[in-house]
Amino acid sequence: MAIRLLINLARFAVTYVAATVLVFLFMRAIPGDPAQIALGVNATPELLARTRAEFGTDRPLIVQYFDWALGLPFGDFGTSYVTRQDISPLVLDRVQVSLILVVLAMIVALLIAIPFGTLAAVKHRSPGGILVSGLSQLGVAVPNFLAGILLVVVFAVGLGWFPANGWTPPGQDFGDFASRVALPVLALASVQGAILTRYVRSAVMEVMSEDYLRTARAKGLGKMEALFKHGLRNASIPVLTVTSVQLAALIIGAVVIERVFVIPGLGSMLLDAVGNRDLLTVQSVVMVLVAITLIINLVVDVLYTVLDPRIRKAS
């Protein structure tokens, strides 16, 4: 158990360091000079040189890399030369927004997927089960942003039930927060829910064909009772795997949804920073996303051992 955790932590560290090098080099490889963008048209070579020196982008790459990377473990992302502000507090603001969005969307998606997926599996030959399968198939095919645009057109512009876009922090005005977060969460959750429904369905169907479930039925348990007592825990392992992968995908999906709904999350910060070649901010946001993904994997790995005693014993 402890060894498994240690191995995972070591993997975390190596992946993280490799990611810092990759993202750093990638940002240097794409065309576009931050000083040129800051000065815009009419910039003269002298002004450009002065601005590059001020930004520190004229220093050797290796110096720039360590200057940035060594601050990361301490939560110091440096100062953005575009906004002239410390990056860490800005990223922290945006992370909260994105996490609220993603976590709410995942909860709603699971609330959709678990009951409907189970239903579709148990009643996979009845019209209800086929309908759920069909709808989930449709949902999988719809991209997040399209769901978002459709929701805006119908519920905000058409019916006027919700604001079309924008964000209010929950602490500031909860009612306004709820009305503004509803559509983006729904946009993310409907697609995500459809994907997960399919996984829940196949996981439950697989469990239902297992010998132990037949044994449970033979003991006299009803179909649902047998499934709840003996099936769901087993079915939850593949679902957990998919959920963790989808959670990472959801964070990326949120980038687009944040754009559609004008939400000041990590995604919009990332896009703006790429556009301005705000290298340090891009690197930092990407590293936060990498960290979140790695942490999810770490947590999921621990959850496996909780759910499945065999994994605990094997390690």
Partner: protein, 504 residues
């Protein structure tokens, strides 16, 4: 049995949560209606990255701050005329080199400091110092000395007479700063204007609150909020759902029809300083040959470009000067649409069946324009291959800095920028300025009538030379709630002056 109860519970929770949020949406909109008369929310695309236009280029910063937070000695009105602002009046000496400004009394900065002649000296000299990194600083090169005569009188001595300088004083280089208010320009803006920044929610909005101690008339509303959106569709959605009152400088004319037919909204079409410049690299083949450039001018039906690419919004003027500039004239007759003539010129130049690369920045106007330009060029035997360039990063690097392009198209937004574009052979257009250099200098130094006539000549020379094809003057499209008044429809400087915006 147990299972169906659980499903029911989950469904009930979900439905409850949704209805709760729907109720709250309703509650929010009534509250905003009550506050409506005292505030206005303007939707814009492109948020400032910081608040310091002395070191950061781009239209977003001065758009938010000039006229609202910062003021100059003079301002440019909706017709492009110079009007007094922090200077009540001024006199120009006989030799046209010395301006004596009489300053307004009782004006102060939002940090409480009074506005005096010392601030004028400080602000002008700061533009000339290393503190200003923005390239616009060159507009202040002509100033020789600033002399403080008294608290309310200041004298500015120019190296040579200049008509352009006083106009520029009404743009961002003329912004007046307080010496104690420039420590953190990127994050705090301290000016003499009617508004001060109340809050900046990064990624969302800038909130401006009317100042109680403003020297002039109070603005039409207490709070003006500038809300920033990634694209035009999001702005009109927000307008339709009541989140914003005005969409300024709207970038998607195809969305306008639904607003034009609805009494709840007003659609304004003003002019702007922005020229859609179809650039041809004057220094490189094939466009180093004036006949090839002239052929392009004849090959393009500019009115058709506006009609197709921008739904007919925008003004075709045939030259690089917007109608609000004093030396404007309609030059459409110089290169009428004439594909036969174009083919003839290409034949003369030995440039038949020409293959060129057309570098198109990733901006809505550019992609819209490029398609029709390509098809019109094809008709005269110029095969343009579109190559997309991310804007601003890649376009600035490739086209603007390295001049690595043949043809491109960009919206040039700077006010009175005809000389910036064409009077500098090192500029990306690469226009040979030998014929206009002296006449331009002479015009700037002449009296007002001489300036206008001189500049007209300069502009005609530029157009004769087919230095670039200005397809049309970019419209300033505004869509707003029908009850909002005082919206500046024309965009003659970088500023979006919010002071007159109010409600019926």
């Amino acid at each position: 049995m147990r299972s169906s109860k659980k499903f029911g519970l989950a469904a009930a929770v979900l439905a409850g949560a949704l209805s709760l949020t729907a109720c709250n949406a309703g509650a929010g909109s009534t509250a905003s209606q009550e506050a409506q008369q005292d505030s206005v929310t303007v939707a814009l695309t492109g948020e400032p990255v910081n608040l310091d236009f002395t070191t950061t280029a781009g239209a977003a910063i001065p758009q938010a701050l000039m006229s609202n937070v910062y003021e100059g000695l003079v301002e440019i009105d909706q017709e492009g005329k110079i009007q007094p602002l922090l200077a009540e009046s001024w006199e120009l000496s006989e030799d046209r080199k010395t301006y004596t400004f009489k300053l307004r009394e009782g004006a102060n900065f939002s940090n409480g400091e009074p506005f005096t002649a010392e601030d004028v000296k400080f602000s002008i000299e700061r533009v000339q110092s290393d503190e200003w990194v923005s390239s616009l600083k060159s507009k202040m090169d002509v100033v020789d000395a600033v002399n403080v005569l008294s608290d309310t009188e200041v004298e500015v001595v120019l190296k040579q007479p200049s008509n352009a300088w006083l106009f520029d004083m009404g743009t961002l280089v003329g912004a007046m700063f307080d010496p104690s208010g420039v420590d953190d320009l990127a994050n705090t803006a301290i000016g003499t204007g009617p508004y001060a920044i109340e809050a900046w929610n990064r990624g969302q909005s800038i909130e401006l609150a009317a100042r109680d101690d403003y020297w002039g008339e109070k603005p039409g509303v207490e709070t003006a909020t500038l809300r920033y959106f990634a694209d035009a569709v999001a702005t009109t959605n927000a307008l339709q759902s009541g989140d914003v009152d005005v969409v300024y400088n709207m970038q998607a004319p195809e969305l306008l029809s639904s607003f034009e037919s609805n009494d709840k909204y007003q659609v304004l079409e003003g002019t702007s300083n922005g020229e859609i410049v179809l650039s041809m690299n004057n220094k490189e083949a094939p466009f180093d040959d004036v006949r090839v450039r002239q052929a392009v001018m004849h090959a393009i039906d500019r009115q058709a470009v506006v009609d197709t690419a921008w739904n007919g919004y925008g003004t075709v003027v045939g030259g690089p000067v917007p109608p609000t500039d004093p030396y404007f004239e309609d030059l459409n007759s110089v290169y009428p649409y004439d594909p036969a003539k174009a083919k003839e010129l290409l034949k003369e130049a030995g440039a038949e069946n020409l293959d060129i690369t057309f570098t198109v920045p990733t901006r809505p106007y550019a992609t819209a324009v490029s398609e029709i330009v390509v098809s019109q060029l094809a008709e005269v035997g110029i095969n343009a291959k579109i190559e997309s360039a991310e804007f601003p990063a890649v376009w600035l690097d490739q086209v603007f800095t390295k001049h690595d392009y043949q043809m491109s198209v960009v919206l040039a937004v700077e006010s009175r920028d005809v000389l910036t574009m064409f009077n500098n052979p090192d500029y990306y257009l690469g226009h040979d300025n030998s014929k206009i250099k002296d006449p331009a200098a002479k015009a700037d130094a002449a009296d007002e009538a001489g300036y206008v006539e001189g500049m007209k000549d300069v502009v005609r020379t530029i157009v004769d030379d087919a230095a670039a094809d200005v397809l049309f003057i970019f419209p300033n499209i505004v869509v707003a709630d029908a009850n909002v008044t005082g919206i500046p429809a024309n965009s003659v400087t970088e500023a979006l002056d919010l002071t007159n915006i109010g409600w019926k």
